[in-house]
């Protein structure tokens, strides 16, 4: 188990290096930061001078190497065009993103898993049809549109909730959390349903019933644990999306998260903070995927046995 874990972490290193380089290289292709700073009024010679002082004329590999060693050795991810420390900027915004991601995924689990189980148990009944079509509705509704509808209703008309920002209370969290959960609830409900449908006629459930286990325990104890793997996978993937910041939701609700900040950086050719954000987010995504993989082992002893073998 531990060996498998270490192996997984080690394979992470080349992946993250490749991702970092790719991001660094792509960012440097997107534009000329010197021109962004200088504006339109400078001469070509002045621009060249600026590029020289900013180190932009050196080969990409050299610049990447310097950036990487600074990042790894000193935790220095560079500075934005405005002179702000990239790491500090990230650390400022990430807690907001994380708060939104975690609460939203918890809300998703709390709604989607019971819904999925009910839909599977009442397979092909009206309850199932209702839940499944609601899920499709949730999946196909554009988040920005729903976000705006919510703002119109709860902020403008009823004046119950703040229309944007993170004021630290649950009130400001409610709408963005709900909005980013809707799509995921739909996805996870469908995944739970189909995974449970596979289990619900299994022989071992009949064995459990035959020894007097109550129907509730048969479903939540026996069937769900066997149906869990695809559900965990979906939730893990969705969580890693959320950690990256849901730009649309952050924009609609002026949520001070990482996603909208990264997009703003890219648009203004401010590629140091953009690179920093993307690399840090990819690292976290990779870690989440490993955690999901390790969770498999706790859910299914057969997978644990496979991990043990190497």
């Amino acid at each position: 188990m531990v060996r498998y874990f270490i192996k997984r972490v080690l394979t992470l290193i080349p992946v993250l290096l490749a991702v970092s380089f790719l991001v660094f290289w792509l960012m440097s292709m997107t534009g000329d930061p010197a021109r962004t700073i200088a504006g339109d009024t400078v001469t070509e010679a002045q621009l060249e001078q600026m590029r020289e002082t900013m180190g932009l004329n050196e080969p990409i590999t050299v610049r990447f190497g310097r950036w990487l060693s600074n990042a790894l050795l000193h935790g220095d991810f560079g500075k934005s065009l405005y002179g702000d420390d990239c790491w500090k900027e990230f650390a400022l915004r990430f807690p907001h993103t994380l708060k939104l991601a975690i609460t939203s995924i918890l809300l998703t689990i709390a709604i989607a898993v019971p819904f999925g189980i009910v839909a599977a148990v009442k397979q092909n009944s009206w309850v199932d049809t209702l839940l499944s079509s609601t899920a499709i509705l949730g999946l196909s509704m554009p988040t920005f549109w729903m976000g705006m509808l919510l703002i119109v209703l709860f902020s403008v008309k009823l004046n119950w909730l703040p229309s944007g920002g993170d004021n630290g209370t649950i009130l400001s969290l409610l709408m963005p959390m709900f909005c980013s959960a809707v799509n995921n609830v739909a996805l996870v409900t469908r995944m739970t349903r189909s995974s449970m449908v596979d289990q619900i006629r299994a022989d071992y459930l009949r064995t459990a019933r035959a020894k007097g286990v109550s129907e509730k325990k048969v479903l939540w104890g026996h069937a769900l644990k066997n149906a869990l793997i695809p559900i965990i996978t979906t939730i893990g993937t969705q969580l890693s999306f959320l950690i990256g910041g849901t730009t649309v939701i952050e924009t609609v609700f002026s949520w001070p998260g990482v996603g909208s900040y990264t997009v703003a950086c890219i648009r203004s050719n401010d590629f140091m903070p953009a690179t920093c954000n993307v690399v840090l987010i990819s690292t976290m995504t990779a870690v989440i995927l490993i955690v999901v993989d390790m969770l498999y082992a706790f859910v299914d002893p057969r997978i644990k046995a496979r991990y043990k073998r190497g």
Partner: protein, 335 residues
């Protein structure tokens, strides 16, 4: 001494409705199981053996399976009228079941110890730790070392898994054990071991047993009485002696004739002619076996045969026995 009846199935009818047809799985089964006896329930695939037995625990998938008529009395209580909680209290405690395929009948993500302990925890007032201890003991009873209680089903062989299934079934010392072809999915060399184990357990815990099988050899070894099912009905029931030596029903005779005789190489097994019965037909207006029966006469096609009592222990569902002096080739003349 007359033994107490522990399980009574009275006129049980089960049918399954599918989108385009209605399947008549069980069409009026009557069966009494007495204390500590073992009844062999034999018949071909689709005869309704499993459906009958599952009905006793009400384990048929409620949709589309439906028990339309009849009574099932466990120690005098009608299973079909039990509430959910009464049902849960009965399952595994008074009546337990061993299933056909040990490969799929254990939960793959639960240790075998937990799976046995779960039954004990539900029915006996013990703590979790005590239940697990008892589960270990139960494992040892079925011949698996107790330290393996923490292992998962995939770490056991098929025969061992079936031992675990048996351990689950007998964990609360049920008065009635239903065994649905417990050895069919197992290797031949393991079959005898598992059967011996079941027999031993039944004796040790004074459990009555219904053993479904289509192996007449197993019946001869383990059962005191035999019930032969055909097209959802019991067509012949009697003691081992009655059915094996004084065979009365033409279908039972057909079953015996279709067995190969190992002591006589020139003997050709004679399969029963014709097709298996149509499950969408309830055969309520004629004998279900008439089209395959060498003894069938006009009247067999005109009404459903009645249960004819040949002796205190022997019943046959064949109208030809109303004629004085009728007997089949294998059988003897009955008065």
């Amino acid at each position: 001494m007359e033994k107490k009846t522990v399980l009574q199935i009275k006129d049980l009818h089960v049918r399954f409705d599918t989108d385009d047809s209605r399947v008549y799985a069980v069409n009026g089964v009557n069966l009494d199981l007495r204390e500590q006896e073992t009844i062999g329930l034999v018949g071909e695939t689709g005869a309704g053996k499993t459906t009958t037995v599952l009905s006793v625990l009400r384990l048929l998938a409620s949709n589309p399976g439906a028990i339309t008529e009849g009574e099932i009395l466990v120690n005098g209580k009608n299973v079909l009228k039990m509430s959910d909680s009464e049902l849960e209290a009965m399952r595994g405690n008074e009546v337990a079941m061993v299933f056909q395929d040990p490969m799929t009948s254990l939960n793959p993500v639960m240790t075998v110890g937990d799976q046995i302990a779960e039954a004990i925890e539900i029915h006996e007032k013990v703590s979790k730790a005590q239940a697990f201890k008892l589960a270990k003991k139960m494992l040892e009873t079925v011949g698996i070392p107790g330290y393996r209680a923490g292992d998962y089903p995939h770490q056991f062989s098929g025969g061992m898994k079936q031992r675990v299934v048996i351990a689950i079934a007998i964990a609360c010392h049920p008065k009635i054990l239903l065994a649905d072809e417990p050895t069919t999915a197992l290797d031949v060399t393991i079959q005898a071991q598992v059967l011996d184990l079941m027999k031993k357990m039944a004796e040790e815990f004074k459990t009555a047993m219904i053993l479904i099988t289509h192996d007449l050899g197993i019946v001869a070894e383990t059962c005191e009485r035999v019930a032969v099912m055909y097209a959802g009905r019991i067509v012949e029931i009697g003691t081992l002696e009655d059915v094996f030596n004084r065979t009365a029903h033409p279908y039972t005779e057909g079953l015996f004739n279709s067995l190969p005789d190992l002591s006589d190489r020139s003997h050709e097994p004679k399969p029963i002619k014709g097709l298996v019965p149509d499950p969408t037909d309830s055969y309520s207006d004629r004998c279900a076996f008439a089209n395959r029966c060498p003894y069938a006469v006009e009247q067999c096609w005109q009404k459903h045969p009645e249960e004819i009592i040949l002796s205190d222990t022997h019943m046959v569902m064949c109208d030809r026995y109303q004629e004085k002096g009728f007997h089949i080739e294998r059988g003897t003349e009955h008065e």
